[in-house]
Amino acid sequence: MTLQERGVDLPPERRPGVPMEKTPPRPLAHGEHSLPPVSSSLLPPRGVSGILRRKAYRVPGHRPAHWMMLLLADRIEVMEFKLRRLLRWLLLPAAALFLLRVVRR
């Protein structure tokens, strides 16, 4: 490919960007009235990971400890979740067995 065959050297009808932009994007329309801050109430911290997360948020974000605690809490939460799921699975047959025994007696 020679230089004349690409980019600005292409004839205008073959240039991918023609027409070139002359006007910048239109800024946000203003005049919004102030609104109070919003937040999410979903998935509040709980368990061991929750303790760690609350602790992490007491450390400002420019300190690595803040993020390290959060990443650690993430891993702990996954373990907590798996443990809870396992317990649910174990509890179900245990309850069934117990009921069976009660009925037989």
């Binding site: 690409r6 009235h33 109430s41």
Partner: protein, 381 residues
């Protein structure tokens, strides 16, 4: 409702979940009609974003139909079709009034670093995302843009993130006319960066990646030159050489924290967590761009730090610009480009799945299988 739910690293499933409700007078609830999977969702999926809680729902690129509005909402009513920016912004604070909606100080009051986003961990506020049948949209008068009656959802879906993100990436490169622009990353954001670079007047646009089908796509879709960095000896030297020896005028990082191409960075960033992901591409940008050039970073990195050759940047007199995209600022402008046929945003969609197949969709997108460029979920299918 049904929603994509995070269960831990590399594990999402579609599960039943409580319907979202109005929690604030300016909230709206949308019935989601389209929800895309974004490259940055993969950082969440791979457990790289701090405070990603089990049970959360991802998805920050969506369109929907207004189902319910809070008492303070004036601009929207039930039945309106809207596309929603990924930033949650109040529209009136110090930052919003300067068009920096990505930095809004009212949507994520817990953080000094980042504003609120949909479906992007509790680090960005803990809001659920749109990969669900319904989603809560705070500050409903500010973010959502009504979809013109004559346009389909998919034509404007990417105004939610990747199209403005790509555009802002090019804009931060301060292209004035005739510049040589190198875009690292041939994913959806890289494609839109390349398109936007042409629109802003670039003289030559080169896209770098290692996934061959994506480079093919970039050549067809954006009319760019491409380089597979795995097929050249030293990508920095190669790019300098094909850019007249000095290097390009502008380099754009459209890759972020999971970059291929450097074993030390992958080891330190992704395995040992000594840095927040692999900052390979920032290094390539700084090393490749000519002295006095511009580096634009739109790829996502986590906190708190990365290994970046800042001394080289200083000595070369570079301008480094970066930010999460301030989506709202670009929406009307880019809508016009779509309308007038200069950007066919919908054309990058290669895969559509009903919501219940989200797991499969994530897998194909994450593994870059089946020629996948962009995946869209249909929550009502």
């Amino acid at each position: 409702m049904r929603a994509v739910v995070y269960r831990g690293p590399y594990d999402v499933e579609v599960a039943k979940k409580k319907d979202p409700a109005i929690e604030h007078p300016a909230d709206a609830i949308l019935q989601v009609t389209r929800a895309a999977i974004c490259g940055s969702d993969l950082h969440l999926l791979h457990g790289l974003v701090p405070d990603t809680r089990v049970g959360s729902t991802f998805g920050h690129e969506f369109t929907g139909i207004v189902e319910e509005v809070g008492p303070a909402v004036r601009a929207l009513k039930k039945g309106d079709r809207v596309v929603v920016p990924f930033n949650i912004a109040c529209g009136a604070c110090f930052y919003c009034s300067r068009n920096l909606t990505a930095c809004c100080e009212n949507s994520n009051p817990n953080s000094d670093v980042v504003g609120g986003c949909f479906g992007y961990s509790h680090t960005t506020g803990g809001y659920d995302g749109g990969q669900a049948q319904y989603v809560r949209v705070p500050y409903a008068d500010v973010g959502p843009m009504k979809i013109p009656d004559d346009m389909e959802d998919e034509q404007v879906l990417f105004l939610s993130d990747i199209l403005p993100t790509g555009y802002q990436a090019a804009e931060m490169g301060e292209i004035k006319g005739g510049e040589v622009v190198v875009v690292f990353g041939a994913g959806p954001v890289g494609l839109f960066t390349a398109k936007s670079a042409w629109l802003l007047g670039a003289g030559r646009v080169i896209v770098v990646d290692h996934v061959e089908y994506r480079l093919d796509f970039a050549r067809r879709y954006a009319g760019v030159e491409t380089v597979n960095f795995k097929k050249v000896d030293d990508i920095v030297m190669y790019l300098k050489e094909i850019c007249g020896g000095r290097g390009p005028d502008v380099c754009v990082d459209a890759v972020g924290m999971e970059a291929e191409g450097s074993t030390p960075h992958r080891l330190l960033g992704l395995k040992l967590k000594m840095e927040a992901g692999a900052a390979t591409v920032i290094g390539w940008c700084i090393d490749t761009v000519r002295k006095g050039g511009n580096v634009s970073i739109i790829g996502v990195y986590g906190p708190p730090w990365n290994f970046v050759p800042v001394g080289t940047a200083m000595n070369k007199g570079l301008t480094l610009r970066m930010n999460q995209c301030n989506v709202k600022r670009y929406m009307p402008h880019l809508l016009k480009h779509i309308r007038e046929g200069r950007i066919d945003a919908k054309a990058i969609i290669t895969h559509r799945f009903p919501l219940r197949q989200a797991k499969e969709a994530y897998r194909i997108f994450s593994d870059k299988r089946d020629g996948c460029v962009k995946c869209v979920l249909l929550p009502q299918a």
